[in-house]
């Protein structure tokens, strides 16, 4: 069983993924992915973190005969290979972001969900979590979402957050983090029965 969660910044997507992983007693792959790659490839974690879930910077990167100098792209490919390897090995896990709904789309055991939220609720969550003012939180949300969108849309055929690319699209502001986790879990359960 693989559950891929895409999310807007501040929507609680990570908490939802954590909750699902705990309830199902399976791995949550988020930062773990970077730690695993760091020890496998012997690259410092901080160095990988710099390029994680970021689009390559236009005008600062170039591609020649299929080779690129964009470290963001190299890390993304390492992560996609890692996810495919995990899936091929029959592992069950919850993965947050990393274009997983696209990278693992050929695995029938995949359930994908996109978590969005109302601006005010997301802003409140970001303010609390990062101890920011409302203005700073809004700025950060805008920046993070635009980075995630650009990263996703560079590697995937479908657009970030487009309902056609996910099994479920949920607004966490309406049903809360627990509610969203419940909906996803019940969907997975029904899917397995079918």
């Amino acid at each position: 069983m693989i559950i891929a969660i895409g999310r807007e910044f501040g929507s609680g997507g990570h908490e939802i993924a954590e909750l699902i992983a705990n309830r199902l007693q399976i791995f949550l792959i988020d930062d773990k992915l970077l730690y695993d790659l760091s020890s496998e490839k012997k690259i410092p974690y901080e160095e990988l973190k710099k390029y994680d879930e970021r689009p390559k910077v236009p005008f600062l990167s170039r591609t020649v005969a299929g080779y690129t100098n964009a470290m963001e792209e190299h890390l993304a490919k390492m992560q996609f290979d890692y996810l495919r390897k995990m899936a091929e090995g029959g592992e069950s896990f919850v993965i947050v972001g990393r274009c997983a709904e696209h990278v693992l789309k050929d695995f029938p055991c995949l359930t994908s969900a996109f978590i969005s939220g109302n601006k005010d609720t997301k802003c409140k969550r970001v303010m609390e979590k990062y101890k920011l003012s409302a203005e700073e939180a809004k700025k950060l949300m805008k920046k993070k979402d635009s980075t995630r969108k650009a990263y996703h849309n560079y590697y995937c055929e479908g657009k970030w957050g487009d309902s056609r690319n996910y099994d479920l699209c949920l607004n966490s502001s309406q049903i809360g983090v627990e509610g969203a986790a419940d909906v996803i879990l019940s969907y997975v359960e029904r899917k397995q029965k079918n």
Binding site: L48, V64, M71, H74
Partner: protein, 449 residues
């Protein structure tokens, strides 16, 4: 005036779209070339003659295209077919050599010769990179050298990053030493009629002097990192013979490469043009490996050749509309008749531009500019040519995107878990690029002015 504005707009948009990488660069340059022919030369200038001159098909039936005592018949107007035919021929030859295991064998032989010791290997691979890049495109040189470097670094327990960076720099420097080392040099040589020997005596001498300083720079910068390798089991060393898949193919590829080098070095004496040498080398490679011929032809990088075609048309359009003369006049106004200032301006502007944009379109655009400058100021065209060649070839080393070899080297390192971002790259490469540019400037000042 209208045609000039439109041709500049086409050129600028083409450059912008190429840099953005939204569309493959050969499609962009061909589309821009088509627009230049139809809108600027056809509709605005109403000149079928200008279109015909830009397409330059007549070059193929000109005897001097195939045989000339010098390359003097070269022309900078329109498509430079000699460059395209020569690069095509070299691509086929290099593909054949790679298939036979030549490059891997050479790298491993060098490693064995220095008994797989990290520091001597570092120095030998720098020189190997420099020498190979004098005759073969830098992408191929780095593709093989960096791959072997990563492999040896695993076995010998050292970081391959310093070595890959040094190889990249030396490949770009070696490319500047000869007429066939880097595409800008081929274009400059065929357009302005210089020979292999003339390049070697001029840009080659500058590159040779620079190499001494470059080796010293990398040695002192990384010697501590490369001398602290751990104990290694000698049985794990890769053997050069393991690189050779087929001894017959290997021997043939060595002979063909030798022929190419001899023909290039002697072409001023034999009268064979680079187009003839390219055609001959390609034919020889294909005829000696008939079974593999379709595969060799399939592996040719046609996209790059098409990119060149489109690019030459666009630059030809700029030239026909007089835009490049305006640029030349502008440089003349800034520099006056001070040859030192002119050389310095061309050198540093070209080097900085090449560090951020593809040096091929830049050099192609600058050739008519320096021709015009030489005509109006009376300055020796060859001095401006060597200045342009050195600056576009070496300036590209400064950033990870400045030259193809940089991108390939950095990418191979990253694929093997060695991330080289802009900061790490520039920290090492920017100072050595500046040092080399200063040496080049000094050499040009002292020798020619």
């Amino acid at each position: 005036m209208t045609q000039q504005v439109i041709s500049i707009a086409i050129f600028v948009i083409m450059f912008g779209v190429i840099i953005s990488e939204k569309i493959e660069r050969h499609i962009v340059s061909l589309a821009a070339g088509f627009l230049m022919l139809v809108i600027v030369l056809g509709i605005c200038m109403k000149s079928p003659e200008a279109i015909w001159n830009t397409l330059n098909f007549k070059e193929f039936v000109t005897p001097s295209f195939w045989y000339a005592k010098t390359e003097g018949a070269g022309s900078s107007v329109g498509i430079n077919w000699a460059t395209i035919v020569f690069i095509l021929g070299m691509m086929i030859m290099v593909e054949g050599m790679g298939r036979a295991g030549f490059f891997r064998w050479l790298c491993l032989t060098m490693a064995k010769a220095v008994r797989y010791k990290a520091l001597p290997l570092f120095l030998v691979f720098m020189v190997t990179s420099f020498v190979l890049a004098m005759f073969i495109d830098s992408i191929t040189v780095i593709l093989f050298l960096a791959a072997v470097t990563v492999e040896l670094a695993e076995v010998l327990h050292f970081s391959p990053v310093p070595m890959i960076l040094a190889e990249i720099f030396c490949a770009n420097l070696g490319g500047s030493a000869t007429m066939c080392g880097d595409p800008p040099n081929i274009i400059i040589g065929t357009s302005l009629g210089y020979t292999f020997g003339e390049f070697l005596q001029n840009t080659g001498a500058i590159a040779g002097i620079s190499l001494v300083f470059v080796i010293a720079y990398f040695f002192f910068r990384f010697r501590k990192e490369l001398t602290k390798g751990a104990e290694v089991n000698a049985s794990t060393y890769p053997e050069p013979s393991s690189a050779i898949q087929n001894k017959k193919d290997f021997a043939i590829s060595c002979v063909i490469f030798g022929c190419a080098v001899v023909l290039l070095v002697t072409h001023a004496m034999t009268g064979l043009t680079v187009a003839t040498i390219g055609t001959f080398i390609a034919a020889l490679t294909l005829l000696t490996s008939l079974k593999a011929a379709p595969m060799l032809l399939k592996k040719v990088d046609y996209k790059t050749l098409l990119f060149f075609v489109g690019l030459f048309v666009v630059v030809g359009g700029l030239e026909q509309t007089g835009v490049l003369n305006i640029i030349a006049d502008f440089i003349h106004q800034i520099c006056g008749n001070h040859s030192y200032v002119m050389v310095a301006v061309i050198l540093w502007v070209s080097a900085i531009a090449s560090a951020f944009v593809d040096n091929i379109p830049f050099a192609a655009t600058m050739i008519p500019v320096i021709q015009s400058l030489a005509a109006t100021t009376g300055m020796d065209l060859s001095v401006l040519s060597w200045t342009l060649a050195c600056s576009t070839d070496i300036g590209g080393s400064a950033t990870p995107i400045g030259a193809s070899a940089n991108v390939v080297g950095v990418s191979i390192a990253a694929q093997n878990g060695h991330m080289i971002g802009w900061g790490r790259y520039c920290k090492t490469m920017l100072p050595v690029t500046i040092i080399t540019m200063l040496i080049s400037m000094l050499c040009i000042f002292l020798r020619y002015l």
